[in-house]
Structures are given as C-alpha cells and as structure tokens.
Symmetry: C2
Subunit: 439 residues, 2 copies
C-alpha cells in the first residue's frame, strides 16, 4: 500500500528522494537537493502546454486539473503577446512613471470595494502575505495571528509561521493559533457561528499568552484545508469577531481570486465582507511572476513611516502588461460566468457519481475550485489518504493531472483553467467514474 | 538647500509625497499610496529603453548608470526572444521535469566552486536572503546575524531586520549587530584585520546577549554602504572569524554578481573565499523576476527536514530561459572582460577628474560597480549629501540617470549595463567634469 503522507500539501505525491534511479529525478536532485518537489513516482517530463492541456515528452496530452496559475489557460496568446511586446520595449522598476503600470493598478482597483484603494505590487504571494502581516502588526500593535489548521500562506520566514501545512517537525509559535477549517465535520450545520466562536476563543487564548491578535488571516476558499466555500456568507460573523477585538481581517486571495469561484471575482465577496487587507498572487499574470497587496491608504502610511518598502521587480511594466491581459481576457471572454456555469455542471456531475460510491464523502466548492473528500468505505468521516494517492495515480493513467489537499491529504482538489469547456469537464467526469468503479 | 535625506537608499531622491500637483505623481500616489517610490522632484515618464539608454516621453534619451538589473542592456533581444518563445510553449512549476530548468541550473552551477552544488530558485533576492538566513539558523542553531551599518538585503520581515538602511524609526533587533563597512575611514590601512576584529567583537556582543551567531551576511561589494571592493581579499580574515565561531558566511551577490565586478563572476571570488551560502537576484534574468540561493546539499537537507519549501513561480521554465540567455550572453559577448576594461577606464577617468575637485573624496569599486564619495570641500571625511543630491539632479539635466548610497547618502553609485561602450563612458566622464566645474 501507499505510505501515509505526513504533509499533504507540499509533499504528498512527492517521491523524488525515493526514485534516484530515474535519470530525470537524479539530475533534479543533483541540482536542487532536498528542495526538489517533483510529482509522481515517475515524474512527468513536459514539453508544451495550451489551454487546459499539457503535453509530455512521450506525446501524452494531460488534462490539467491541478494548476490554478494559468487561469486563462496555458501559453495564452494574449499574455504571450503582452509580455513579449512590453519586454522588447521597456522593463524597469517603479521609480519611473510608466503609464501601463498605473493603467493596471487602476483596472485592478475597479474590482475592489472601497476603502481598498492602495496596491503594492510584489513578485509572489509569499511576499504579499509577508507584507500584509506586517501592515496588520503595525496598525494593531498586536502580533497574534489566527489561521486554519492546514493553512498555507507562503514560504517566507514570517509567512511559514502561519502556514501549519508547511511545518513538519516544528510546532506553531505562541503567537499563532490554528483553528479547524469551516467544515460541517467540526461545526455542524451552523458553520458561521461555530467558526466565529473558534475565532473568539483563539483571540482569548492569545490574550492568555499576553499576545494581542493582529489579524484573522484566511484563504477565502480554504484551499489547502480542503476547499470550503459553503454556505455563502459564513465568514461574516468571524470577521465581526476579529474586528470587535481590534484585529484585522486579511483575505488571502492568492488561490481563489481572479474569478475562479464563479460567483464573484474575489472569494471574500461570497461572504459579504470587506477585508482590511487582500493579498493576490498565482493567477494574477497567468504565470508571469507577480502578486500584490490591496489595502487602505492608512495602513501603508503607518507602515512606511517606520520602514522603507521597495520591490525591485514588483510592479514592473511587463508584469503590468501580463496583469492587464489577464483582467481583460477574464472580462472579454466572460470567464467568471464560464467558471460558474462549468463549475456548477462539474459539481453536479461529480455529486451524481459520488452518490453511487462509498469512497466519496462530500463534494464541495464554488465555480472551478472544487474539493472531493475521499473516505473509508464504511465511514464517511474517516479520510483515506492512501486511496486518494492511488486515485491521483489512476487519474494520471487517464491523462489527468490532479492534486490533493486537506489535513489528511484526502481531498481531491480541482482547479482547471477558467476556459474549461463542457467536453473537457465530461472527460474528467468519465475518468472519475471509471476510477471509482475500479477501486 | 536640499533636505538632508534621513534614509539614503530607499528614499533619497524620492519626493513623490511633496509633488502631488504633478498629474503623474498624483495618479501614482492614488494607486500605491505611501509605498510610492518615484525618483526626482519631477519624476520621469519612460516609454522605451535599449542597451544603456532609456527614452522618456518627451524624447529625451537618458544614459542609465543607475539600474543594475538589465545587465546585458535594456530590452536585450536574446532575453526577449528566450522569454517570448518559452512563454508561448510552456510555463509551469518545478513539480514536473522541464529540461531547460535543469540546463539552467547546471549552467549556473558551473560558475560556483565546490561544495556549492544545490540551487533553490526563487522570485526575488528578498526571498533568497530570507531562505538563506533560515538555512543558517537551522544549521548553526544560532539566530544572530552580523551585517554592515547601511546594509540592504531585501524586503521580507526577516530580511528587513538585517537591512539597517531600510529602517527609519525602528532600531535593530537584539539578534542583529551592524558593523562599519570595510572603509579606510573606519579601519585605516589594514581593512582586512580591522573588519575581522569588528566581526569578532560583534560575535562576542551577541554572546553577551545570549545569542549565538548564525551568520555573517555581506553584500560582496557593500553596495548600499557605498561600494567597497578594495583591496582584494580583505574579507578572508572576517570569514575565518565567523567560521571559527561556528557561524556561516552568506555572500549576498544580488547586486555585485553576474560578472559586474569585472575581475570575477561573483564578488566573493575577489576575496579568495568560498561562502557557505550565496544569494542571487537582480541581473539574473535581465529583468525577468528571478533569484536564487546556492548552497551545500547538507544545509537544504537539514532545513527541509523541518519545513517544506515550495516556490510557485521559482524555477519556472521561462525564468530558466531568461537566465540561460543572460549566462550565454555574458560569456559570448565577453561582458566580464568588458566590465573590467570599461570599469578600469571609467575609474581612471573619474579619478583624474576627482583629483582636480575639492568635492570628491574617494573613487572606489571594481568593474562596472563604482562609488564616488562626495565630500565637503574643506574636509574629505565629511560626506555631503546635499551636494550629492544636487549632482543627481544635474546628472539628470545632462541626461544621465544615477543614484547614491552610503550611510549619509553621499556616495554616487555607478552601475551601467555591462555592454557599456567607451564612448558612453566618455559621455559620463564629460558630464561628471562639467557638473563638478559648475558646483
């Protein structure tokens, strides 16, 4: 049988250290050592990608349900053209005026409610969350953070502290409290109230440690916790609780943002709340490295009085060109609608198949960000990471790329490009049914 | 007269908050608030750039002696072609094998001595230094860092703590000791010994605070301290001191790396030392956002046993394509030789002009990374930031872009692209002479 994966998000489906006989793996290990993160026992060598499809060296075309970075689809011509043209013309930092940068910032800002009117562009979601946390500490005078149990917010030192899913042998520092994700399993039918109560008790726990809460930091769809989107609005109470305690609410939109949830452009909008700080990343440039923090002017005023913040690559005109292409394509191709319509279609189809299988606990999510709980046949509350891992391999045999999330690594995580078609969704549904029939 | 700049590196020559009447400035301030970093009282709107030249909206062509990111020159066709082609073909993360990524890693590794054989690619120099510091803490069990007084190593929370030049109202934390940069002014004629002694006393000071030194973290050319490159080998003793204390030596090559010093590909090579960890950034992709950490396998083994490290954009094939183009062009166009030859020419020319001016203290540096101390006419040891700032404005009037560094913000910092020609160097020398004559 499969090994139990200790750390689902970063290391599930990673076997590189066990496959040194594979030439490609050996080469990668020689180059990157223990930081190697190759997927699959026999990692795939990719040569090209287009739309929702990736092509391997052996000619196999894989349907990519894993990667939520290329939101418009792999190698999207609008982004390729925008980046290529701007790169050939001008690529510099934000110390000069380059109108496309402000054009982008203004286009981005139209997607946010007041008073979120200032943007800091960075290179990665990690840098964005690192800055967001410091803005919150500076404003509140607190240093405590409340996150969910399998949260992942990035890779810097500060952000790793609030990313329980990245920690292996180290425990959370005293200033971080991890609470269970907004699942029925923990909170029953009233998730909003149960989750808000846990936020309240976390604030109290921090206080007992002599630590003031700086912020409630939440991925708006709880990606690495296993995808929790329902019911709409369940975060509202928790946000009120942190605000009443003088803390901020940071919405991490690095994964759910840019129309993926279908019902809204930003995940937090599904909850009828206005965050104090929003962080963006992954799909922002369809793969061009860029990310950002959106917040109130006051928080930047306060922070920048103490610390000069400059980001060499952040906000360069090539990133702006990529970002503008992404915003324009989402709008012009109605990709938010497509995410909602195809997401609903996919979810309904998955549910129908799941109803016939003893291995499936729950199908959840919004738009093209869905989670499927894989459980022991006799116990819907018992996650089954071994079968999940086996299914990931079987999906590969069906030429579909997919990953897992959740505390046990037993939630299949679906995040195809927003340009997914009905026939591509059908391919996934057929494979899902076949795999479940074969187990 | 000019205001005294409190923080030279990040805010010298930044007046955006004082120029809200300027339409471009007002727009930028509305978009990025207090994080705006525009240069000059009347910021320049740039429209294109090529080689060492940037063109503004009003048609003015500026000779760029400021920006060390586009090391091959702005909009370099080899990088534009490499990025455009790879972006149209495949851009994904390091979870799949894409041979160009390992091709790049191997090409990069050939520039490093043993045992520096593992590379972690990141998006920014900040991310690289953040990771490097954590590797050092994990390996040594220490948490103390020794840096120079006006060091700048990046913008994450952890890295800002070791970047005195980024701090305004906050003092260094207890685990960070800042020592004077390797200047004759502080250490007299035996810089190697004086600097090593300060490292030794910093280690002792940390010990008195109950803190073990994790690393000596140094920009190999002390860019933000004011550019200190001479004499060759002066770091060797200091590195021995930190090693004897069980600490590591981290070489921050984000600014001096990739052949800029002319005499070596990496700045540390001018000192006949092998760092434990090297961090790279800025010129690595000629503007494509990429950076990295190069180190011994053991350090990554130790770190990754505790923490899973993944970087979504780090090591993507487009970055690899940009990075390969940079390495190939440096080699094929003999840019290291050019940096050395043109650097020597420029330095000799600057010195000749400086000898006739009471405003110039010292001309320093290596290759195309030079520093010129601007001093009070009657006292070579008294830096003059007001005149420096006035000179930066006058250089702009002469269509030359240049910045300053150093504790007082009174060292002009020259970092043109490595493709600089003799006639372009002459343009700078003529302007320098003219400006000094006019003061």
């Amino acid at each position: 049988m499969m090994e139990k994966s200790v750390r689902p998000i970063l290391e599930m489906n990673a076997f590189d250290k066990q496959s040194p006989h594979n030439t490609n793996v050996a080469r990668r290990l020689a180059n990157t050592g223990a930081s190697s993160v190759l997927f699959y026992r026999d990692p795939i060598e990719m040569v090209s990608a287009e739309g929702v499809w990736m092509t391997a060296k052996d000619g196999t075309r894989y349907l990519d349900f894993y990667n939520n970075v290329p939101c418009l689809g792999h190698s999207h011509p609008a982004v390729v053209a925008a980046v290529s043209q701007q790169l050939a013309k001008l690529n510099t930092n934000t110390r000069y005026i380059v109108p496309i940068v402000d054009d982008y910032l203004e286009a981005l800002k139209t997607t946010f409610p007041e008073p979120l009117s200032n943007v800091v562009l960075t290179c990665s979601g990690s840098e964005a969350n690192d800055l967001a946390m410091r803005l919150a500490c500076k404003h509140t005078g607190g240093e405590g953070f409340i996150v969910t149990e399998s949260a992942y917010h990035g890779n810097t030192s500060l952000v790793t502290q609030v990313s329980p899913s990245a920690l292996k042998n180290t425990k959370l520092p005293d200033h971080v409290i991890a609470i269970p994700p907004p699942s029925k399993k923990y909170y029953g039918s009233n998730i909003a109230q149960g989750f808000a109560e846990r936020v309240e008790s976390a604030i109290a726990q921090l206080e007992q440690r002599g630590i003031k809460a700086a912020a409630l930091l939440l991925d708006s769809i709880f990606s690495s916790d296993g995808v929790f989107a329902e019911p709409d609005g369940f975060l509202k109470q928790a946000v009120e609780v942190i605000h009443n305690a003088g803390g901020l609410y940071i919405a991490d939109e690095v994964q759910p943002g840019f129309a993926r949830t279908g019902t809204a452009f930003w995940g937090f909008q599904n909850h009828d709340v206005v965050p104090d700080i929003v962080t963006l990343g992954k799909p922002m440039g369809n793969g061009f490295p860029m990310a950002g923090v959106v917040t109130k002017p006051q928080f930047l005023d306060e922070f920048c009085a103490d610390v000069g913040y400059f980001n060499t690559f952040g906000g360069n005109p090539v990133a702006a060109a990529a970002g503008l292409a992404v915003l324009n394509e989402i709008k012009n191709q109605n990709l938010q609608d497509n995410a909602r319509i195809l997401g609903d279609y996919l979810k309904a189809g998955l549910q129908k198949i799941a109803d016939l299988s003893p291995h499936i606990g729950e199908v959840r999510g919004s738009g093209l960000f869905l989670g499927i709980d894989i459980c022991h046949p006799n116990d819907n509350n018992q996650p089954d990471p071994e079968v999940t891992l086996a299914m990931i391999d079987k999906f590969r045999d069906e030429n579909i790329l997919i990953g897992a999330a959740g505390a046990a690594g037993a939630t299949l995580k679906l995040r195809p490009a927003l340009c997914l078609t009905k026939s591509e969704a059908d391919l996934f549904l057929q494979a899902f049914k076949k795999i479940l029939d074969d187990i």
